[in-house]
Amino acid sequence: MAARFRLLERSPQARAYKWIGWGLFILGVVLFAFAYADTAQITLLDNDYAMSLTRVNKSISFMIAILGLQVIVGFTGQLALGQSFFFGTGAYISAYLVANHNWSWFLSILVVVPACFLIGVIFGLPALRISGLYLALVTLGLAAVFPSVVQLEQLQKYTDGAAGKSVSSSLVPPSWLPLDGIASFLQSIPLVGQYFGDGDLSSKEEERLWAFFLFAVLLAICMWLIANLIKSRPGRSMRAIRDNETSAAVSGIYLAKDKTLSFGIASALGGVGGIVYVAEIGIASPGDFTQLLAINFIVGLVVGGVGTLSGAIVGGFVIAFIPDWASSTVNVPGVPERWLQGPTGTLFLGILLILLTFVLPGGIVAGVRKVKARIIQIVPQPPPGATIPPAATDGSVVASVAADADESPDTSDGVSDVTGEASGEDLRSSATSDGRSTS
């Protein structure tokens, strides 16, 4: 069963599709932010599910950290589970700089990124010797010691020990930004205006909106950087290491360098996530950066989709919202009320993890991609000099070379099953190589 629409890569249609898609996405994000500047409640079957920008901002911090995990676990294939250590390190460093030295939040990136990168590289060195389960254990140990490390007596004056390092500095929107104007414009639109609240934004709402936009842009920059990294030479080396270390080494990849680089980048992203976290929450406390967080990151990684960039977004959203929503679920028809009390969030995440491993091993993103592939498909340009036969039998205008490359859904399913981590990048690259081989 072929896709409903097929677009040739770099054709005007494909470009239009890409730009319109992105435009709609950004518009959606902006509208979402204004609609949810004040917390909303989603009511479903008598359960109230809170939806607030505070939590969304928190989820952005998780997304950036999971993006780091994508680099090390998803693309380099190293089972490093200690992301909460770097997340916490970033949070504490920036909290210290902002609270004690009056730095701005974003200036602290300049310190956090190199610091976390360095620590990551240092902890990456032993990983050259150990791998698999042992690496997982060692890195999980790293996550376990973090709360004790920040409570060390010697660090007390920097970390404020167990009480947590609180910071009162908040992100104040610049006066030139007409947030109020945009809000009142959105409110004045007939029919949909009612969904954007009424009256002026309070200063708290403005701060939340501003923080959300800043964090979203920061996330976008991180995503863009990592997307480029993955396509570049080091990124290809990382993927080669993931797929087969021995053959990667044989092909001339310097394993030590690329593995430690990958550790460093992952840790730096963890640190950036920590900055966002503490900038939103206003306190870095040892109880927040425990092993549980490290495990939650892994859950987010797997649920979103290992080895996919967008999986980080889905994963961050899942671990920030699902536990809360699960504990807000107090009425489910047919389920005794007693079963819905207590820590249902953790239980639900666990069930989700098990279910997805069986049903959608590639995570939610892989599922979405499978559906999307049935509707729209962008096929690569035929290589120069290839003969282009007349239109394909299904009526859509497409080069048969491309049709050859992706003859039937069975082939593409087969590819995804083989790679296991069904990433779109992989699918596309395999399609490209097929296309070339046919020509």
Binding site: M1, A35, Y36, D38, T39, A40, Q41, I42, T43, L44, D46, D48, Y49, A50, M51, S52, T54, R55, K58, A144, P147, S148, Q151, G161, A162, A163, G164, S166, S168, Q194, Y195, G197, G199, D200, S202, S203, K204, Y277, E280, I281, G282, I283, S285, P286, G287, D288, L292, D324, S327, V330, N331, E337, G342, P343, G345, K370, V371, R374, P409, D410
Partner: protein, 517 residues
Amino acid sequence: MRSRAWKRSVAGVMAAGLLIAACGSDDSGSSDTTDAATEASEVASSVEEAVTSEAEAVTSEAEAVTSEAEEAVTSEAETVTSEAETASTDTAASGEALPLEGQVEVAAGTTLDLDACPDDWDATQGVEGDEIRIGQSLPQSGQLAAFGAIGEGMQFVFDSINDTDPIDGKKLVLVTRDDGYEAGKAVANVEEMLDTDDIFAFAHMIGTPINFATRDITGAACVPQLFNSSGFPNWGDPVNYPWNTGNILAYSTESDIWCQDIVDSVGEGATVAALIMNNDFGLTYKAGLERCESDGNIEIVGMELHDPAAPDVTNEMTTLSATDADVFVAGTTAAFCPQTVAAVAGSEWRPTYYMSYTCNNLASFFAPVQDLAGQLADEGSGVRMTNGIKVCGDPVYADDPYIQEVEQVLDEYGGVTCADGSYSTGYLYGLMVADVVRKAAALPGGLNRVNLMNAMWNWEYTPGALLGGTLKLDGVNDAYVTEAAQVQEVVVTDGNLSFNPLGDVVDFEGQTGSFQG
């Protein structure tokens, strides 16, 4: 292959439909706050129904108990009301309502700056309907999930007050959310509750980092955050945090009482060995003991810190028992308390033994080591604690009217007993909230947030749970709620664990001032 694909796409469409449906109903919720309020009240009433039906399910025997309980609660409520009437603060005496704008001095040195409140701030938010909505974020999951029972206990006492003697004819409603003892979750919880749950005031949030993280938010929103349930000395700072008050005996005060008791019972210059839990709470004890040492009262000969997540403290206890100090202080909590009892009983060491009052739940922490605790008491090394309240489950208080009332209400409204968890603590906490709210409602101007803080900072309340002293606040002059405690020893009489009072109630009332930091 084809049918499988079809099934998948049908499933996808259904999932999308669900999502759209979810978003659809969300819009009405977000656009109209009253909707959210009614929905919330519906949820609350459904909870009540559940509770009622549960209560109905109990046998006729329980019904007899019920009527007794009602009587008990009514009489309790009556005394509370009469107290509220007599408790006349400066402003109440003048008969003029406090203004709801500008700088309002509610107590000595305690000024609410209402001009700094958000534009949409409303002094009566959360009490406008027929409910008084109290918010609480507390751990219901994670390592300290046991504290979740406190919230349930508070709801039980609220239910009983609503049934017998409602405040201003309104129902007290407790809205709880789980934070797993993580400050990050607590912040999101509090912000969301402020926006959507129509919260009048927050009360009894548990844990030091949680209260540190949230009091800035509630302070900026001008929403009262009463009774921080953590013994950190910072929670008595009316100058900087007029919207926030503490609750339990400060651990620093507790260690001062130890210091005094060591001098009284062992003598000046006694050698002390201490086991300290390495977190905010344990380190407060450490600071207290060091203060005691620098005052020349004791000599610390051994101090071991242990990780809160450690499985046991055997190694630390071996080191400490080797010091053979005159005094042993267990500045730790929960499962570590019985471990220290077992370790001391198993060694030759028989020091004068002090333990954090957070372990005073005999049923939870001492039942497993009952014989050893009894042996220590017989050999002159009984575990001493500074208790401020009567402990539910101690046979000494079996006939105490307060404890009986607790047991009846817990049984009637929750079907639980004191031995099931921290419900009895929740009971006392619920009574405290109800009392402040009732006093605020009696002030001129009625129930609003300014009056609540006024009633809070001039509060005086003596619940039946107290061993002595009173719960009292007076602005900067006295910013700590609980300051009285009695040193008691754990003993075993007739096969039952019990507390044996040693000496009188030590009362620091009014002497601890406010937080200087």
